[in-house]
């Protein structure tokens, strides 16, 4: 299955540069330019590397104490259906239940400034989780979304060791209730999928970004990193952004401003 994850590497480019409009040439052919799908339709052709999905987090807009994105993710993907197994410790369970997105609060050691941000799978272009997975269950889709093929995951958890962002969760308990759009079961690893079921139905949105907007914070912009006129690239062009653990050179699909 690896060939499918290969294609993105060819289109590899520093996309901070892209955000500044430097690599316009790479995106120049008109066929790459596209408008958001207006008449949403389920896809019939396999995904391609014409898109690379990404997310921009404006930490200055992310509100203290707000968990709208987390809650939305939980409902969207059936994570709210998890329940603590009888007899498990309460705190331990919070570290055992699946969490695809979490609110993180930071304080600058020097200035004391407090920053809030949501942290989820960063959909790395060079994902360490994919490199280490022995069976190839961790993979990167042609459109840049990093996922786990739950049919081949053996639950070795090596990908969790490898991920620098603690983005992945292991399903520690039997799953009784699950949603049709988000299958999940005991013994496999899972993480944020950028609401892939929405994208595949032609709807360019994620539950977290929707929820954040609905709350009026507008801290999350989801979109296509390869679409220079799209909302994501526009937002990226407006302010300098960076990756968490930029030093690792993973070229993440999730970027942060004000960090």
């Amino acid at each position: 299955m690896n060939h499918e994850t290969e294609s993105m590497n060819q289109g590899r480019r520093d996309f901070l540069g892209a955000a500044a409009g430097v690599s316009a040439a790479a995106v120049a052919p008109g066929m790459f330019l596209h408008t958001p799908v207006a008449n949403a339709a389920a896809r019939t052709e396999p995904v391609t590397d014409m898109h690379r999905w990404g997310l921009l987090v404006d930490t200055s807009k992310c509100a203290d104490g707000c968990t709208a994105c987390v809650d939305a993710c939980d409902t969207e993907n059936g994570l709210n259906l998890q329940s603590k197994p009888l007899g498990d410790d309460k705190l331990k369970w919070q570290n055992q239940r699946s969490t695809w997105i979490r609110k993180v609060k930071l304080q600058d050691n020097l200035t004391g400034n407090v920053t809030n941000l949501p942290l989820m799978c960063q959909h790395c272009e060079h994902p360490p989780c994919v490199d280490v997975c022995p069976t190839g269950a961790s993979f990167k889709r042609a459109d840049g979304i990093v996922m786990v093929d739950r049919h081949t995951c053996i639950g070795c958890r090596y990908c969790m060791m490898a991920c620098p962002y603690k983005a992945r969760s292991f399903i520690h308990e039997q799953v009784d209730q699950k949603l049709t759009r988000a299958p999940r079961g005991k013994g496999c690893v899972e993480s944020c999928t950028f609401c892939v079921h929405r994208l595949d139905s032609g709807d360019i949105s994620t539950a977290c970004a929707d929820a954040c907007s609905a709350e009026g914070h507008q801290a999350l912009v989801f979109g296509d990193l390869k679409d220079p006129t799209g909302p994501l690239r526009q937002a990226l062009a407006k302010a300098p952004s960076r990756q968490i653990r930029q030093d690792l050179g993973l070229n993440t699909g999730v970027r942060y401003t004000g960090l």
Partner: protein
């Protein structure tokens, strides 16, 4: 594999021991479609019934890779289609888990003594399914802009 074979042997010996009674039941193979399911009102499955009986897993498995790697959902060979069409309903009109005793998938798999583990992960009743293209169309909005209205209604 071993357990499957063992179950097969057991079944064969059962057939031998109980003679006609069991054989009579065996003749009814395939009649596991529940009257309360949507499938009961349809002429055929997504492919001819005889073909589906033997090859449904091939179709599902092929579609599985299409969906996982290619993002092609909503094909009628996907497992969610199986569930939504074949799930039975109780008196109150509530769907019954399809891998439950006597339900469509479970009863045939039990008869054929083939392990059924799709539902370790997949939903056994149609739930939260409705993120299909219709919902998506209704939900269509300018990307990044605020979306109004609760999405829970759509689920």
């Amino acid at each position: 594999m071993a357990t499957v074979m063992m179950k097969g042997v057991l079944l064969a010996s059962l057939v031998a021991t109980f003679g006609m009674g069991v054989v009579a039941q065996a003749e009814e193979v395939g009649d596991y479609v529940l009257p309360s399911s949507k499938a009961a009102s349809l002429e055929n499955c997504v492919e001819p019934t005889e073909y589906m009986r033997r090859n449904h897993f091939e179709l599902i498995r092929h579609q599985r890779d299409q969906t996982v790697y290619g993002g092609i959902r909503g094909s009628d060979h996907g497992i969610s289609g199986c569930v939504s069409c074949h799930v039975g309903y109780d008196d109150k009109g509530a769907p019954v888990e399809i891998d439950g005793k006597g339900q469509f998938c479970q009863s045939c798999h039990e008869y054929a003594a083939v392990e059924l583990n799709c539902f370790d992960c997949h939903a056994t009743v149609p739930t939260g399914e409705a993120w299909n293209h219709e919902v998506a169309a209704a939900h269509a909005h300018l990307p990044g802009a605020a979306k109004t209205g609760p999405t829970s209604a759509e689920r």
